[in-house]
Symmetry: C2
Subunit: 195 residues, 2 copies
Amino acid sequence: MSGLQQAKSEETRRKVLEAACEAIETGGLAAVNIRNIAKEAGYSIGSVYKHFKDVDELIIAVNTLTFSKMKDRMAEAFEAEDDPLDRLQALARTYYRFSRENTKLWLTLFGHRLPEDYPTPEEHVQANVDLLSFVGRALQGLHPELEGEELTVRVKTCFAAVHGIVALSYERRFVSLSDEVLERELEFAVARLVA
Amino acid sequence: MSGLQQAKSEETRRKVLEAACEAIETGGLAAVNIRNIAKEAGYSIGSVYKHFKDVDELIIAVNTLTFSKMKDRMAEAFEAEDDPLDRLQALARTYYRFSRENTKLWLTLFGHRLPEDYPTPEEHVQANVDLLSFVGRALQGLHPELEGEELTVRVKTCFAAVHGIVALSYERRFVSLSDEVLERELEFAVARLVA
DNA sequence: GTCAAATGGTGAACGACGTTCACTTTTGGA
DNA sequence: TCCAAAAGTGAACGTCGTTCACCATTTGAC
């Protein structure tokens, strides 16, 4: 494969992926429909399957993009602060705000359960590790005595706690808190957890 | 409707619901299939729809049962302790253990997103309020000065944090912790959050 | 006991979906 | 110029949720 063909192939993949992103941004996971996505991208059903072996792979690709956008935002937040505690607070706040500004994408990232026999996307595991490493570096700045396994575990706990506060704010059963209150509670939780 | 008819109707509903529970306990949300459930229950497709207007309503019924089982366990945990902090720790531990012992049901409870136009089941909102009230009563025992809105908000935060730690332990992307470590981290998080 | 209405129960049929594949069109290189 | 390889197509298949016209059983009034 060379030149023109590769370019066409990449463009098709890109357009299909874009259409899938737009579908999810608009209607969430429920709006993923190969026929619609193919039409929106300007291709036939068959072409979608030339680039993605099934819907799960397409959704995984969207989630990989979401992870990437989130990582950029988290990197910004990390760089913008010097003080370790400020960094941790900024990371939590950024995590929450990203979810607010990209709610459908964020819900898809955590709501799409792939079949049990489906292999876990290695890139997603790595993306998670990358996210945790921001928290890890900030936490170590605050607690230099924490190291190795102990640090890793504590990082996961803090991340998970923040994640839970964000996640439940989208649970319709859960009588939810206002934006301001939620950010204050997030700040409280982080302060306590890393004190 | 009277006597025999009502009894038949209730039995059918019960058998269908039981079949749905078993399907979910075995294969999770993905295993929900009206044809299979009807067959397992010993009825036809049409009969299922006489008792549940669509799959969502059937899943909601299963989730209501799950909530009820969880509430029983949380009530036990609450009663078993006197000290407020012990109570809070027991509630968190129970929440986690329930999710371990009923993983598929628990994942279905939090993984099933119903259509946006679908009304939030009032009974689920109430079930959530009931769960939070255990936490609320225990937390107030520890912090009598907390009251009203302030207490409500803090209760939600603590619950959500615990929920997040439990929830992420089922995320395959997330390199997860062992049972013992997770319970220790849960204890740490609760101790810090309510200190 | 009789009969009509109400309720329980059935499964073929419909439309939408994910997926496959035999096919046509376009391309790259010899 | 020609043909293998790759891109692109869409009809067709199986499965799913859902509907509905139909039969069977139960009920209550007479």
